[in-house]
Symmetry: C2
Subunit: 128 residues, 2 copies
Amino acid sequence: MTKQAANPDRISDAEQAVMEALWTRSPLTAAEVADSVGEERGWSLATVKTLLSRLVGKNAIAAQPDGRRFLYSPVIARADFVGHESRRLVDRLFGGKAASLFAHLAEAEALSDADIEEIEVLLRELRK
Amino acid sequence: MTKQAANPDRISDAEQAVMEALWTRSPLTAAEVADSVGEERGWSLATVKTLLSRLVGKNAIAAQPDGRRFLYSPVIARADFVGHESRRLVDRLFGGKAASLFAHLAEAEALSDADIEEIEVLLRELRK
DNA sequence: TCGAAACGATTACGACTGTAAACAATGACG
DNA sequence: CGTCATTGTTTACAGTCGTAATCGTTTCGA
């Protein structure tokens, strides 16, 4: 047990692609996931099956038996995943300060006019 | 060459800790980095040396000879690293829309009052 | 009924990571 | 001068990730 203490079952990039498919529609069979994901990623059915197994092992998805195959569904919600990853980034790179992330985005001109517009609206919402 | 095509020399978590030390102060010797980083992470000098080598291999830091040892300095700037990782997150999780990230943070109540205050100020700046 | 198709499970394998230990060369101290 | 400490280099090794191929079983169509 050397690393997973620091790495409590993170969802990898490839695995995320599978999650996205299931977040979009579920439950799905392995073949269906492969159709939807393997398409653009150029993955073989075998690869998708491996990823599904790993995700089940990580308790990120559940497999309910349906005849002799499984129907897979997400166990963790996308919002939770997104929240987790966002928080992780803010902690790792901005000392936990979300405003710093925002400042960086602004400074790096990573914010489009539309972004700024939208954020202003959100801000007005926030202060009710 | 199966994976690094998709992974052009990313800086890992452990490696980032070493980078942080060098971003804070540089150039440093391996021993100095170990003092500054290995302390809190509980790393041995050997571990720090390995990480330094790997970072040199990734062209993330440079090693200039100083007698029979090296002085290490960052090659990539922290702002670049931060920008890269932020963009990556926004792309991966928010379809490239920074405003969506912001919306998520707001919704998840991940924004403190101070954050909001600060962002408002920044926004005023932005629209000059 | 018999072979092909479909499924999950097992095995594979190289690259990357975290975490070092072992080794070789050299320099410093007694 | 000999030995210990220092420093970079090489090797190690288990766990994760990307990407499958193979295997064993079951089912469906001819």
